[in-house]
Every structure is written in C-alpha cells, then in structure tokens.
Amino acid sequence: MTVVTYRQAITRGIADALAADDDVFLFGEDVARAGGAFKTTDGIWERFGDERVLDTPISEQAIVGTAIGAAIRGLRPLAEVMFADFAAVCFDGIVNELAKYRYMTGGQVTCPVTIHMANGAGTGFAAQHSQPAENWFLNTPGLKIVVPGTAADAYGLMRAAVADDDPVLYFEHKGLFGRREELPDDAPIVPLGVAETVRAGEHCTVVATQLMRHRAVEAAELLEREGISVEVIDPRTLVPFDHDTVRASVERTNRLVVAQEGSAGGSWGGTLITALLQEGFELLDAPPLLVCSEETPVAYAAALEAAWLPSVERIADGIRRTVAY
C-alpha cells in the first residue's frame, strides 16, 4: 500500500498494461521522451523503449486511425489524445470508423483500442481545453466510456480498458491529477460497467463522476450534519452503465440527484434520468434532479469558471430540495 496521486495511478496502470501484454503499445504526442504533457506517461518510455512507446506528430486523425489499423491486426493500441477537447479533431475516426468498424463488417474485426485523454474544467484552461467531452460520444453505440474519479479507479479502469476487446474512451480529469490516495501494490482491475457505492445513505441517491463525485461526497457530509442521509454512487463507466446499482439505490431512497460537470443537453445525466424513468417512475417520490453546468462554454476568469462548475453548495442545495419535496 503506497500513497500515490491520481496521475501516478494512471501511469502505473499504463505501465502494468504494457508489462502484461506485449501486444500493447503506447503512442501519442510527447508521450515518450517527454513523459506526456500531463506527465501521465512519465518513465514509460525509459522502461519499454522506442518500439512500444512512440511520439507522434500533431496529427490526431492519424493517431486514431493508426490505433484502429493496428488493433484489427492483433495489437492493443493505447493512444493518448492529450486534452479530451482534441477528440473533436479526430471525431470522425472515433465515431465513424472505430465505433462502427466491427458492426459494419459483421463482426469480422475487433477493435481493442484505448484512447486516454484529459478532461474537464476547473484549472483555468478556458473554453477549448476544459470540456467534459465524454458527452460527445453518448449517441454513438460501439464505444465504451470510462470516467475514473479516484486513483484506484484510474488504475483499475486503465487495466480493464486496455484488456477489453472493444474501443474504450478513457477520460482522466485534469482537476484530479494531484489528488493523493492509498493504492495497494496489487491494486485490482476494475471491471467496466460496475458502479461504486461511495457512501451509503437513506434519503437520496446522488450519482456523480470525477470532480463531481468528490463534491457530492462533500455535500453528503455537509448534509449529514443536517440529518439528511445521502447515498453517493459513482458509475465509473458511462457505457456500459450500471443501471442496476442506481436502481437498487433509488428503490431504497426514492430520490435521485445527478451532479454533473457540463451542461444538460445531450449529457449522461439526462440519459441516466431518462433511462431510470422508463421502468422506475414509481420509485420516485420527487422529481429526479440534474444539477449541472449552465449552457455556456467554459470561461477563463476564475470566478466565471467556478460558477460554471456545480459547487458543493449547489449540489447540497439540490439534494435538500429533492429530499424536502
């Protein structure tokens, strides 16, 4: 058991994935010699060498396509797209080629590609470097999407992503890189599609990922002092989504709040609420609430950016209103 940062957990996940399977290789812009723009691949090149760890030109379309081509020929590419916002530049490769290749060929190929990218706001990077880009991909069947919020999940989901036979988009949150946590030396693989119940509670179920997961826990602690008992669930994987865990929780609490970074339109929070309602309408004693960002891009100035991200107080307030309903 050692204390590591979220960033180091990612690095360890990548290293262990490379060590576990010779078919895994890592590539992207400045991932090799420089150890990654966020230092998430620090030391990997030194350990695994030029053949398995490669710097690329600034060519995200080529990166994604190369991953696909290598994958269908038996390799397990682990590609880095530095900021998740840059997934826009290679969006075609991800949604039109990677996601559909297996289906269009009637199952002739598998695409065990992992693309990891840094996500999210709160660090002053402004509109083009701060988006919760996971929401761009929700309407594209064929992709799996993971959103680790802790060091253990960052590690365990990286291992699961690389070992998975389907394309996995792995979003790491920039605001969590420095978070420290204990991580056992033999940290487990975290299976895709299994939520974690972070905190048990009776009055309300709160579902949140990444930065919002931690704020939800803080909100829950705050509310505990007010006598409100909150269950916090981190789905960890958005596709496939662990509906069973959320549903089982709502069966007990009869209330659902989703705390989400990013605006409401086309989001995973809205998707979850809609899905839950299809079968679980009667479970709810109050309207399911989506606490999320306003419908604006992310601004640069600290105060503006801070207001965009749901705060602990806003989450707590949403829970209060839901419980009081």
Binding site: A62, I63, G65, G69, A70, G93, E97, R102, M104, V109
Partner: protein, 331 residues
C-alpha cells in the same frame, strides 16, 4: 507515361509470367462483369441505397493486388468492389453483401460501400473520404511491430488527396518509415467535379515531396505497369525503406454513383478513354505476345459465367434474421 517524381529507383521486379498475366485478365473481366451486374441491380431498383462502380479502373486494383501476397493487407473506399475482389473475396458473398443477404461478406450489415473480407486481406471499404488512410498506417505499423514483412496497401481517389487525413497519414507513415503503399486512383473526378476545380496542382504524385517519400505517376490502365510499380514499391516497403505514393491515371466509365448520368464530361472524353479501356489494352498486349484469340475469349466467357452463377447463388440466399441486428456492436 511513367513519370517518377522522386525516389522510386529500387531494382526492377521480375515481370509476371504468361499465366499470371492471363490470370490478371480473368480478374479484370470478373470485376467488369460484377460491376455491370451491380449497375443493372441498382439501375432497376432491385437494390436500395447507392453504389459506386469501377468499370474502367480494373487494372489498378488487379495490377496492384496481383503484385502482392495474400497476407498483405488492403483497405479501400466505397468504390472498392474491384479492390476487394482483386484481393480475393468470393464473388458470391460479395454480391450477397450488396444484396443485403445473410451470407453476404458482412452478413448484410455493410452493403455496397463496406465490402470487407478479412480472410482475403480485404480489411475494409470505407465510406468517409480519407477515413481509411490512417487505418492503413496502423496496419503497416502492426506489420512492423509484429516483425512480419506484410505490406499495407491503401486505395483512394484523386479528390481524397485534398482531405486532412491524407496529409496526416502520409506524414506519419513517412516519419515512421512504415510499409504502406498509398495508391491514388486518379479518375479525373471527385464526384462531379473535375480535379482542376478543386486542386491547384496537376500531378498529385508530387505531393509525396511534402513527406520525403517517393511519388510516382503511372498509367493506371496498363495492368502490367501497375504490377511492376507496386512490386517495386512493395519490395522497398518490405526492406524497411518506407511508404510510396503511387498515382495511377485511370477513368471511371460510369457515373459517380447510381444516380449520376455524368453529364459534366467534356465531349469525347469518355470515348477517348474507352479506347484505352484496361481490358482492351491488356487483351491486345496478350494477343500481340502470341496468346490466341480463342484463349482470350474463353477467359472472358468463363469470367462472365462465374459472375452470373455467383449472382444467382447470392440471389437465392436468405435475408438476415432481424435479430442479428443486435450482434457485433461489441465483441
């Protein structure tokens, strides 16, 4: 018509022997009959969606694929029937896919624009212009990573050289010196637009210079010239000398897609190119080399029959079970 604009000076490959040349004739005939049959199927509304045919361009796919090995890997476009067949996909299952039948190459999920036969090394037909170029880079990467001497070949059109993925793919293949052959089938048009209206230069092979790789323009209607060029480029690729850009000049004799009467052609253009029909040219060369006309006719007739039988077979196949629509989203 060969104009090597850079590099391209590897040792001359041994030319294909007589049998191999006849085999190429057969292959071109099969593609021609296949495409003619598709034309009928779509024109009469027997099949929905759209199709993009390659009559007139057969020498590129056949010359190239016959210069390669079965274990070499190929990607192509929506105009890929010829390439997929040349690489070795069966006629009947190719028809079957276009007809949307269960035993079709992709179980009916792909259709005309996505013919794929991984067993034959026909890794996929892509319908987004430029989409497969980076994929072909990855295929080349895998070959080197795994220490095989497979070559990755990638067919695309002249118009596709203006899309961003073209640039990124050639650049990356060149930096990493990967065994990838980029083959432009320059048929003078991207959809309805002549190349000159969309592209500020004339010789697309010249774009190779941006990547420090050899760029070669060849007569794409001369199956032997294609064969020789690809053989050389493949040898260089296998030797670790990196990618090549090959511009094969050719002509599509039909419209861009099912709906296109190709009215934008200048007068006389089609006729001039029909005189340079790749099958006609190859037959003439074989006749001049002493192959008797009956032998040539036999090959043609056999190809026609094979195609007809394949089509009949495919038409008799069942549609896919609707339940299969839920398969193959994930592994």
């Amino acid at each position: 018509m060969t104009a090597k604009t850079a590099g391209g000076q590897a040792a001359a490959a041994t030319p294909p022997d007589r049998d191999a040349q006849l085999e190429m004739l057969r292959a071109m005939h099969e593609i021609r009959f296949f495409e003619d049959a598709c034309h009928r199927l779509f024109a009469t509304g027997a099949v929905r969606g759209t199709t993009h045919l390659c009559q007139g361009q057969e020498a590129v796919a056949v010359g190239a694929c016959h210069a390669l090995r079965r274990e070499d890997q190929m990607t192509c476009t929506y105009r890929g029937h010829g390439a997929v067949l040349a690489k070795g996909a069966p006629l009947d299952r190719s028809f079957g896919e276009i007809l949307g039948k269960a035993p079709g190459l992709c179980g009916g999920k792909g259709g005309s624009m996505h013919l794929t036969d991984v067993e034959a090394g026909a890794l996929g037909s892509f319908a987004i212009v430029g989409g497969h170029l980076p994929v072909s880079v990855g295929v080349g990467f895998a070959a080197r990573y795994r220490g095989t001497d497979e070559v990755s070949i990638c067919f695309f059109g002249d118009g596709s050289t203006n899309i961003g993925a073209f640039h990124e793919s050639l650049n990356l293949a060149a930096v990493w010196r990967l065994p990838v052959l980029f083959v432009i089938e320059n048929n003078l048009y991207g959809e309805y637009s002549p190349l000159s209206s969309t592209t500020p230069i004339e010789v697309l092979a010249d774009r190779a210079a941006s990547y420090g790789m050899p760029g070669i323009r060849i007569d794409g209607n001369d199956v032997l010239e294609v064969h020789a060029t690809i053989s050389e480029a493949a040898a260089r690729a296998r030797a670790g000398e990196g990618p090549t850009l090959i511009e094969a000049m050719t002509y599509r004799q039909k419209g861009h897609s099912r709906a296109d009467p190709a009215k934008y052609r200048p007068e006389g253009e089609l006729e001039a190119w029909l005189k340079r029909d790749p099958i006609v040219l190859h037959e003439r060369a074989l006749a001049e080399a002493g192959v008797p006309q009956e032998r040539l006719d036999e090959i043609r007739a056999a190809a026609e029959q094979a195609v007809e039988e394949a089509l009949e077979r495919a038409q008799s196949w069942p549609d896919p079970d609707p339940e299969t629509r839920l398969e193959h989203v994930y592994a």
